[in-house]
Amino acid sequence: MSKDKFQKQSDSIKDSSTVSPEHDRRRLLKNTVAIPIIMTLSSSVAAQVARTSNLVTPIENLDVAAKNTNGDLLCVHPGPDGSVDVVNERPVDLGTLPSVTVDSADSADLQASACQREGGILISATAYASLSGKGVLPDSSIL
């Protein structure tokens, strides 16, 4: 059971960071009657498909852009329910079904141009790692 499944939103308990496993939540809810408790349900499964969870900022600096193990740029395309008006340096919603393409051009500049032509964006390696960690984008090592 992941502690992320439930977002504890009361700060009325000391050491709230340690309150995560299921039995601890039970202890909090059930046995601790001496303090008021409120928790707000948050569905992490739903969060994976929530549009706002997939916001990224496009970048132009090719040095820090996400690449695969061959050094090719990873071009990220918003899904059908994502943002379509790609504006540089402003957050873009990748939607629930973003995809990634890798262009076969020899230089990074050409790959970046191809990405832009096809409506894709470049994002930082850090942002990419964060989204692939959530399962939104594939691991860059397999591309």
Partner: protein
Amino acid sequence: MSSKTSWRSVNFSSLHIEEWNGEYTVFHPESGKTHFLNQMGFQILVDLHSRPLSAISVDEICQNLMNQFQLQSDTTFSDQVSKTLHRFDELGLIEQVK
């Protein structure tokens, strides 16, 4: 956090409340959120709702809770109740009256 601050209920009657053996799930239509409350957390909402026309101070809320739950007075408890009230406020369940 001033103990002089008073609070009142906001649209308590719009909440969907389910009781589960001393615990409560509360659906708040305005935010679309579901909250879990223990008995004491829920009692705060009930106490505030029971006095719709007048705001209640933190001290009075604490006193009510100490009576109902047979607790001894202590400053930590008052702080915890106060924090919970602010959390309720953030969630749109109650509001502050100055």
